[in-house]
């Protein structure tokens, strides 16, 4: 189960979703409500999609567990936090580095989600706290 909690202008919305696609749709609803520019909506959607997908795929091995997504809209910044209770895993240092230079034939695809997140967001941090992995990504809303 995925949960999205969003704080926009002091108003907190929480929704739960069975599927990541629903979560992405929910992000788009927030984007419209909060008046985000198209490129900001794109970035936030991509981070939720990529990091959320990684957490859903890997956090619990073959088991099940919750992945929570928090989106906080502040005056000038936007914060996304993705939280799971799986084994300790810091994707910023432990995920395999992407291959960005090999030719078509040899290029593996993987590690792009974390790489895109680091590149598109201004500040990305990981912490392990109270048995949970918390990945936080912050970007300016002003572009």
């Amino acid at each position: 189960m995925l949960f999205l909690t969003a704080d926009i202008g002091g108003e907190v919305h929480q929704t739960s979703h069975e599927e990541l696609t629903d979560l992405v749709s929910a992000v788009e609803v927030l984007a419209a409500a909060d008046g985000w520019a198209d490129d900001l909506t794109f970035k936030v959607t991509l981070v939720v999609d990529e990091i959320g997908q990684n957490a859903v795929d890997y956090a619990y091995g073959n088991g099940v567990g919750d992945v929570e997504v928090f989106v906080t809209s502040c005056a000038e910044t936007l914060e996304i936090e993705i939280v799971d209770s799986g084994e300790p895993f810091d994707p910023l240092t432990e995920a395999p580095a992407p291959d960005l230079t090999s030719g078509i034939e040899d290029r593996p695809i993987g590690g792009l989600g974390v790489h895109l997140t680091k590149s598109l967001m201004e500040d990305v941090t990981y912490r392990r706290e109270s048995g949970k992995n918390r990945l936080k990504a912050v970007t300016s809303k002003l572009g």
Partner: protein
Amino acid sequence: MPIDTERDNGTVVARPSGRIDSSNSREFQSELEAALTDSDTALVLSFENVDYISSAGMRVVLLTARGLQRRRAKIALCSMNESIRAVFKISGFDKIVPIHESTAEAVTALGA
């Protein structure tokens, strides 16, 4: 996900539309495979109607480019919005597949 296709003298121009992510990337791959025949020598993949792509969709672009290269066919991408263009650049895909501003430019480049 329906993909609009046009064929001119062995060059296929394919225009997927909407969002390409993990929820529909398999469908994107099969539609793209269905759009191409073995006698096609070049593919222009136009993003003019695509709003969003994630790494799952980019994987399909890479696999398609690989398949075409193996049979000595060519591929070019074009007409991306700024966000999609940025994602391709950050991923280093712009170094392995040419990206053009417009369909006409891509068709001309492949024909040369």
